[in-house]
Subunit: 236 residues, 2 copies
């Protein structure tokens, strides 16, 4: 292939649009219902009606059904054939979602410590530095974003697509709740020091330490969320 466009008439370089970007009714419905369940809008055991939901959203039952099947696979609801869909999410479920996330994140941290390269490691440490600044200034929204960057970076470094995807589903709190936590200086400081030590362990290549630290971090911060959302402590 001949090299084109050298010098003059350079075109603007746009990035390819991710096909998954497109938002379908199903996707919208999925997010809305999932979020509602996780925020406790339904009582455990409560039945939800596909037709009613369709009416509320102003769509047909088809996207509702597909969305419910996804939520069912996540374990948040249970479908009893020809009987109905029942909410399964509960405080206990939330506890276990934290445990699942702890187990998976620690596994991925372990692998990241083994697989991360120099450049990526430097980026991770740089992220922690930025976090330190944000922690001091108390910018909650910025911290939330950085937190995501931090964990995403570790996920990528582990080169585990499936595990990363699985972890995404183990989150039962949203940005509004995270903000509450990040507004507390003590909590902010705790999270920062944990992130720092996790990053160090990963960059150093100490897989076992990274694993242990990550697990404790997820469980501890998870407990804090549990306390906020359900007003109680976990009993492990």
């Amino acid at each position: 292939m001949i090299e084109a466009k050298q010098g003059v008439a350079r075109e603007a370089a746009f990035k390819k649009i991710d096909p998954a970007f497109q938002v379908t009714m199903r996707d919208h419905v999925y997010r809305a219902i999932r979020s509602a369940i996780l925020s406790g809008a339904f009582a455990t055991g409560e039945r939800i009606n596909e037709r009613h939901l369709a009416e509320q959203f102003g769509v047909s039952t088809t996207p509702i059904k597909e969305a419910l099947r996804q939520i069912e696979t996540e374990g948040l609801v249970e479908t009893l054939p020809r009987r109905g869909v029942a909410i399964r999410f509960s405080p206990q479920w939330a506890e276990e979602m934290i445990l699942a996330r702890a187990a998976l994140e620690s596994m991925i941290a372990h692998l990241a410590a083994k697989r991360i390269d120099k450049a990526s490691g430097a980026e991770l440490l740089a992220t922690v530095d930025i976090m330190e600044t944000a922690t001091a200034s108390g910018d909650a929204d910025r911290l939330i974003a950085l937190n995501e960057t931090f964990h995403d970076h570790i996920h990528r470094s582990s080169r585990c697509g499936y595990l990363a995807k699985l972890i995404e589903r183990q989150q039962f709190y949203d940005a509004s709740i995270r903000r509450i936590i990040h507004l507390d200086p003590t909590e902010r400081q705790k999270a920062l020091s944990e992130h720092a030590s996790i990053a160090e362990a990963i960059v150093t290549g100490d897989a076992d330490l990274a694993e242990r630290l990550m697990r404790n971090h997820v469980v501890r911060s998870g407990d804090t969320y549990l306390g906020i959302v359900f007003g109680k402590q976990k009993n492990i």
Copy 2:
């Protein structure tokens, strides 16, 4: 409420039928497609067509779509809106499914060690005893069933419904492949001794040991499966 039926005319006591027992088209299709994907019937990246599947199964596209949404949530396929459904399962995905299972099973073993009661512990040890007999006699099918009993028992002892459910989805091999493994005396013996030590750790209440043993067990046996299914070894 008045106590009825004392003495005479006792009715036959039937167990309640689990509503989830009923098999719908969707459920059948879900299992069939999932199993086909996991057994390697489709190449990674290959596109599958909802209409074609509907024709093959002789049903409409509705149950197909719902089943695909479930499989998508499991991460085995990816749906690109208005473009198509593509297979995502690959040897790497299988490796990660093992890792996920190892992480989750070890977490659940940890909890089981902390929560199991005397009676349940005795049952677990009894199961191992039976496994010992079956291992000696080489009854592969019996061993497969016992294996399931063993892990289920641990799941129940941990009192974790969500985690147990999550683990179920991390299995990429079916009974026919398990049989192959259980026909190998060396492998059988290895599995037995691992099961025995896991059971002991759990009954003793040594959570950390149980966790470590379970993790190694899942990873090791998982590697064996990987070798059989894909003819290669994992590179952790």
